[in-house]
Symmetry: C2
Subunit: 231 residues, 2 copies
DNA sequence: GAAGGTCGAATTGTATCCAATTGGCCGAGC
DNA sequence: GCTCGGCCAATTGGATACAATTCGACCTTC
């Protein structure tokens, strides 16, 4: 009843939490107590747990047995791996899909780019992150493989979290200039050059991260691990 | 506390069900009733649901709202996509990892190959599927990216299900001769040739599937959907 | 004063209970 | 004879109740 749209309440919770994470309202490490969330949404812990479990499957939250769920805190090493994974996956998808691109694809990419630019001008960080994600998703769509696309989707979500954690607050999550240049390369139809441009863009995104700032405990741990046995 | 090993009961359930699927004891489409499984394992539906939800995240079971969980029935199109995804992912991982391979890696691959051959000789289908999965997993390990490795892991699981569904019962899931030849190519260190051999091997696996047998209901369903009812 | 242990509040894990949905069965009506 | 309609068993979805675990605070002890 209550005709709460077509989406179930747990889907709404998942979307809300994900959005809050991407928008930096929820910092990594934030505790997500079952009772608290249930209170907010007016549902029992059962459905909260379902939502949290789903978010955990997407690697956006970390469920620690008997110790509750927190927003995922990727280590610098994990952040690195995610971006390497994106480079590998996206360049492959681009190679698969480039030849198959139609006018519709180009138009869609142009449209997303325009939205990206608009978000930049408006300084709307959340819209920028969303537009950037959409751009990369759309770029991979012509490869026409929903399995790989789902993987990319997960990686984009994790990237958003990583960017929210490690990137300077005022920096742009993804340069739309890069996207623009990339579209130019794509228009030429040269696979190798387009791949190179995409890889370079992702490397830039990665390099913009500051992997030493985060919180208080990770650096200390890393220090210990980097110290070879000689104390 | 029942010292039930270190693994929780729901992990055991997941492993059992996955094994049963891969070993063709549970055919795709088999209903997995919550009460039934809870009875078998002596736990409440709560933990059964957790296990089923996890299996659904791995795409091994399909949870249909209000209608229960069944073993995933990939359509021919989905099966195709999974194998394309594997080709893309594994060749990329091989390119990333080939230069980094050590003696330990080669030894591990040889060991798995030996187990694979032994399983073939013994006619142990389950061991063959497991050995084949291990081989591909180990092949990807040197790339040293746990994110992509996790994706591959999921794809291997789904492949096992697909093979169980679509492959002739007496056929081998993966030719160990291919694996052997692939190792030879890898030993030369030629990335392009190793990639080609791997891609060819995966294409062979895919071609061995018979994608027309289990077509009892899908076409009929599609027909119905195209016809507005009540004329 | 510091270290260690114990107790207690808070939170998660599991079981059980009730409501809602599904799908089939049977009977009424055309 | 066939179809449409409403009941009924079975199963899932969600809420609540209870048990188990964690973590912090306080107290004791050296």
């Amino acid at each position: 009843m209550s005709e709460t749209c077509a989406v179930s309440i747990d889907q709404r919770m998942r979307a809300d939490i994900a959005e809050a994470i991407f928008d930096q309202r929820m910092a990594p490490g934030t505790r997500l107590s079952e009772a608290g969330l249930g209170e907010i949404y007016g549902v029992s812990r059962t459905v909260v747990r379902k939502a949290l479990f789903h978010l955990a499957a997407d690697k956006l939250v970390d469920i620690r047995p008997n110790r509750g769920a927190i927003v995922w805190q990727p280590s610098p090493a994990e952040a690195h791996e995610v971006f390497v994974a994106r480079r590998v996956l996206e360049t492959s998808l681009l190679a698969e899909g480039l030849a198959r691109m139609t006018e519709t694809d180009h138009a869609a990419l142009d449209r997303i780019l325009a939205a990206d630019i608009a978000a930049h001008e408006a300084g709307d960080r959340q819209a920028m992150i969303r537009a950037s994600g959409d751009f990369h998703r759309r770029l991979a769509a012509p490869a026409n493989n929903s399995v790989l696309l789902a993987f990319l989707d997960e990686l984009i979500g994790r990237s958003s979290l990583i960017i929210a954690l490690y990137e300077a607050r005022d920096a742009a999550p993804c340069s739309h200039h890069d996207h623009q240049a990339l579209l130019a390369e794509i228009a030429t139809g040269d696979v190798a050059r387009a791949q190179a441009a995409l890889a370079e863009h992702l490397r830039d995104c990665q390099n913009r991260l500051v992997l030493d700032a985060p919180s208080a405990e990770t650096p200390a741990l890393a220090d210990l691990l980097h110290r070879p046995r000689r104390a």
